[in-house]
């Protein structure tokens, strides 16, 4: 025996058996998530060490069976066959042993060493269910361990059992637990044929024979991969012939026969092993569902749940950001202090770019508290079992528009009402088994109100819709789902027509109280993915947008003009300071730092809270430069200092206005400005001028940029102290803009393509650049079409912005109701004649 004895362990089990909780209990915090090669199924692995060495543990996807019909099952099966783990832990729900053992028997047929983890035994025992563990262990021929993953019970026995099984080098069972009656002779013949083929050694022969008799597509592929065609084809033909003969003689599908044999085996195994005195009596879950799923009460509970999520995560979460924002602001100040100092007119690139990046990252990190709360609440919904009920309640509505009951979670994460993020939303579509509905969900989640859309809405409402704010807000927060359903219906009927669909067949799990650690783990995991994915992309794109805004830069003649004005301001300052006691500071080497000092001081004073904070700022600046300090503190009686302070203020404000004009000149002549202008011929129909185009373009990088860019374009002027609302309002209104333009922008923004981070996630989830590009082009055209139509019609009829918004909203709603009604009629027709159902069944074959 070698010193270190490392093991590979796989966890296999059915859905809702508490497999992930048990995995967490077994491995602790050291976990990683990767993808299985070529597919989007998560591969979760972790490890722990014991006295003998490291135990690498893989959490296989939850599967009810191990056929080749679903992706998860293929992935789990592939892993077990290819990697041959030293030990496989089969996690079963102790209170649902009968169904669970079907999978156990299939794993045993793969000739793997198995430990049976009887999980959720607390629930089973609570119901009075008794399981004779020793008898079960003897009959199955494998170690059985009692566990309660949620309470951390059974970790040590499980680890011991893994080691004990790994040390025993003989195969566990010689006798196979299931015999297949009339199929046995064929099975034995085929097994022998496989055993005598050297290229197939290492494959569990009887299992492979079963799969070939079942006409399993993947098993045939394996055989073809390993054997020469001259060898493979006769074997496959033999299997097909045996299978066909069996079906003819017995009038029964091979796979149906296998299932019923396994069912008989399970019944025999459990006979006398379990006693369930309360069988048939309503469980706690039944009683809860009687209330929560009551026909009349269910919608009310659903609305209440959604409202609570909104209130806690979005409203209270937003309040929480008031406390976290100062931390981010302070970080910015620290970084600003480290970067090279600002120039008088032109800043060093490292400074402007560094601050640009920090600002981009900060707007994003500001949402972290909201996401933590949101993701924790959603994890609670999932773990409790209510999420599956939501799918049950809403499936009919969603299905009618091409979505799926399980689209609910992605839509909530994306922000159905106000606030969410499409990145985790698109990510959560992974669980939807119906491919067409999944694609439709991926493409409609970006229409939800993501958190970053909210600032632009707020801005536009403040400018154009002061009186109708609440009505407009109602339209904005409810139209998203209306649009999403319409778009989903449209896509399902057109581009997604050919996608594969599968039925809605789902387990409603037993209710559980979510555990704190489970909820926190999921909340942190998802938030971290948001930070990582969104963060890297947004920062990368911020660099691109920065470059597009900086280059080619201000034209030379205008630059010369600005420099002249700057010099004039400095000369004026020097002249004014002549004869002042502080004249020695009015020299070329001091003026730049002095103005920066002055501005820093003013900003620090503004941000300081209370008299104490104010004193602290004063002390800090006195320490930083005692020589400059009197000019900003204006000590009593020092007339010269007060005069110098006034001149400094004039100089600073002149510098600010020059810099502002430079910024505008730079954007106007920048690449992004040129692109924005070149789009005017098209966007003019929606009323967008180049400035709005630039803002909308930059919002593709990250939504929150739109407001920031507008802020720059509509000339931030600190001294005037006018808000962006007022400035933009004054300027656009001067240019003849009306609330109609506001409506056009809002509609365009609601339908606008997903941000870059989301499109990258769409690429990951759909596995194709084609869909990623589609997700950008389609909403752009749709948004532009709707905005142009609304703007042009409004202009022609003289309707107000609010009126046009109401028209659009109610037209969309009417269309939605008509489509819903039509879908409902055809659905009823299909159901009323059950002769149809025979055909439905055959069509799927």
């Amino acid at each position: 025996m070698n010193e270190r004895n490392d093991l590979l362990v796989a966890l296999a089990g059915q859905q809702n058996a508490g497999k992930s909780t048990l995995f967490n209990m077994l491995t602790g915090a050291r976990q990683h998530v990767a993808n299985y090669p070529g597919v989007t199924v998560d591969k979760k692995y972790g490890q722990y060490s014991d006295a003998e060495g490291v135990v690498r543990t893989v959490d296989l996807p939850g599967t009810y069976s191990l056929t080749s019909f679903s992706l998860e099952e293929r992935v789990a099966r592939d892993f077990l066959i290819q990697e041959r783990p030293d030990v496989t832990i089969n996690v079963v729900d102790g209170s649902n042993l009968h169904r669970s053992l079907h999978l156990t028997l299939q794993i045993l047929e793969m000739e793997l060493p198995v430990v049976l983890a009887l999980n959720m035994m607390d629930v089973a025992e609570g119901r009075g269910l008794e399981i004779d563990q020793a008898a079960l262990s003897t009959r199955l021929g494998l170690p059985v361990v009692r566990t309660v993953g949620r309470k951390g019970e059974g970790r040590a026995p499980l680890r011991t059992a893994i080691r004990a099984l790994a040390a025993a080098d003989k195969p566990q069972t010689t006798e196979f637990p299931v015999t297949y009656g009339p199929l046995e002779p064929d099975l034995v013949a085929l097994t022998q044929a496989i055993q005598t083929t050297p290229e197939l050694t290492g494959m569990p022969a009887r299992w492979l024979a079963l799969k070939l008799l079942e006409c399993d597509a993947q098993a045939a592929t394996w055989v073809r991969e390993r054997l020469e065609p001259a060898q493979a084809e006769p074997l496959l033909e033999q299997a097909a012939a045996l299978s066909a003969t069996f079906e003819r003689n017995n009038g029964l599908d091979v796979s149906d026969h296998l299932v019923s044999c396994r069912e008989r085996a399970v019944a025999n195994l459990l006979d006398g092993v379990t006693t369930d005195p309360e069988s048939g009596r309503p469980t706690l879950t039944d009683r809860i569902d009687r209330v929560l799923l009551n026909r009349l009460a269910a919608p009310a509970f659903l609305v209440l749940t959604v409202f609570l999520i909104y209130q806690i995560a979005i409203v209270w979460g937003y309040e929480l950001t008031n406390y976290t924002w100062p931390i981010l602001a302070k970080t910015r100040e620290l970084i600003a202090g480290v970067l090279p100092e600002a120039g008088f007119l032109v800043d060093p690139y490292t400074r402007s770019m560094g601050l640009w990046l920090v600002d981009s990252a900060n707007t994003l990190l500001n949402y972290v508290p909201i996401f933590l709360i949101l993701f924790a609440l959603i994890a609670m919904l999932e773990d409790s079992g209510y999420m599956a009920r939501i799918a049950f309640i809403l499936d009919k509505v969603l299905h009618r528009f091409g979505l799926h009951g399980q689209s609910t979670l992605p839509l909530i994460l994306g922000g159905v009402f106000a606030g969410g993020c499409a990145v985790p939303g698109v990510m959560a579509t992974k669980g939807i088994p119906d491919n067409r509905a999944r694609m439709a969900t991926i493409l409609t989640v970006p229409f939800m109100n993501c958190l970053a859309k909210v600032p632009l809405y707020t801005l536009l409402l403040g400018i154009f819709f002061v009186e109708d704010k609440s009505l407009m807000m109602f339209y904005i927060s409810t139209m998203t789902i209306v649009f999403a359903l319409l778009v989903s219906k449209l896509l399902t009927k057109t581009v997604l027509r050919g996608e594969e669909t599968s039925p809605f067949v789902m387990e409603l799990p037993t209710y559980h109280l979510p555990t704190v650690s489970g909820v926190l783990r999921r909340a942190f995991e998802r938030t971290w993915i948001y930070i990582k994915k969104v963060g890297t992309i947004v920062v990368a794109v911020a660099v691109v947008v920065f470059t597009l805004l900086q280059f080619p830069g201000i034209p030379e003649d205008r630059m010369a003009e600005f420099e002249q004005r700057g010099e004039a301001a400095v000369v004026a300052f020097e002249r004014a300071m002549a004869g002042n006691a502080y004249q020695r500071l009015a020299t070329a080497e001091h003026i730049g730092p002095l103005v920066n000092y002055y501005n820093d001081y003013k900003r620090a004073k503004l941000n300081a809270s209370g008299a104490e904070g104010s004193r602290a700022v004063a002390a800090r600046f006195e320490r930083r430069n005692p020589e400059y300090y009197p000019l900003v503190s204006r000590p009593r009686g020092d007339k010269d200092a007060r005069r110098a302070n006034r001149h400094l203020r004039d100089l600073s404000s002149e510098r600010k206005s020059i810099r502002r004009e430079m910024k505008e000149a730079r954007i106007t002549s920048s690449l992004l400005g040129m692109i924005g202008r070149s789009m005017e011929p098209v966007t003019q129909f929606a009323g967008f001028d180049w400035k709005i185009n630039v803002a909308l373009l930059s919002s593709f990088a990250a939504r929150e940029s739109s407001v920031a860019t507008l802020g720059v374009l509509f000339q931030q002027d600190e001294d005037q102290n006018a808000s962006l609302e007022e400035r933009m309002g004054a300027e656009t209104k001067a240019g003849g803009a009306t609330a109609l333009l506001g409506t056009a922008i809002i509609l365009f923004f609601a339908l606008y393509p997903p941000c870059l981070a989301t499109t990258v996630m769409i690429k990951v989830q759909t596995g194709s650049y084609k869909w990623m590009i589609f997700s950008i082009v389609f909403p752009t055209l749709l948004g532009l079409g709707v905005a142009s139509a609304v703007y042009s019609i409004g202009l022609a009829t003289g309707a107000s912005g609010v009126a046009m918004m109401s028209w659009t909203y109610f037209s969309a709603l009417t269309l939605l109701l008509i489509l819903g009604f039509l879908g409902g009629r055809s659905g009823r027709n299909l159901r009323s004649t059950s002769v149809d159902s025979t055909e439905t069944g055959e069509v799927r074959a």
Partner: protein, 84 residues
Amino acid sequence: MPKSPERPARTLNDIRPGRRARIRRHLARGAVRQRLMDLGLMPNVEVILVRSAPLGDPIELKLEATSLTLRRREASTIEIFDDE
């Protein structure tokens, strides 16, 4: 017993909430059939139709220790015995 060919067989879609039924056979094939069987809907198994969703579809079934939900479209591919 085999039914007269002119009368269509009853399916899980035809029973009312609260009623029991015993499964006769599946009309679905392939993945759907496998899924239904994996979840425990095997021939001769007895199920109760617990309720339908507020909008009438999907429906909830209970069998032994499992609660399942499936759309009426799939329910109408599961034939039941007439004896209950």
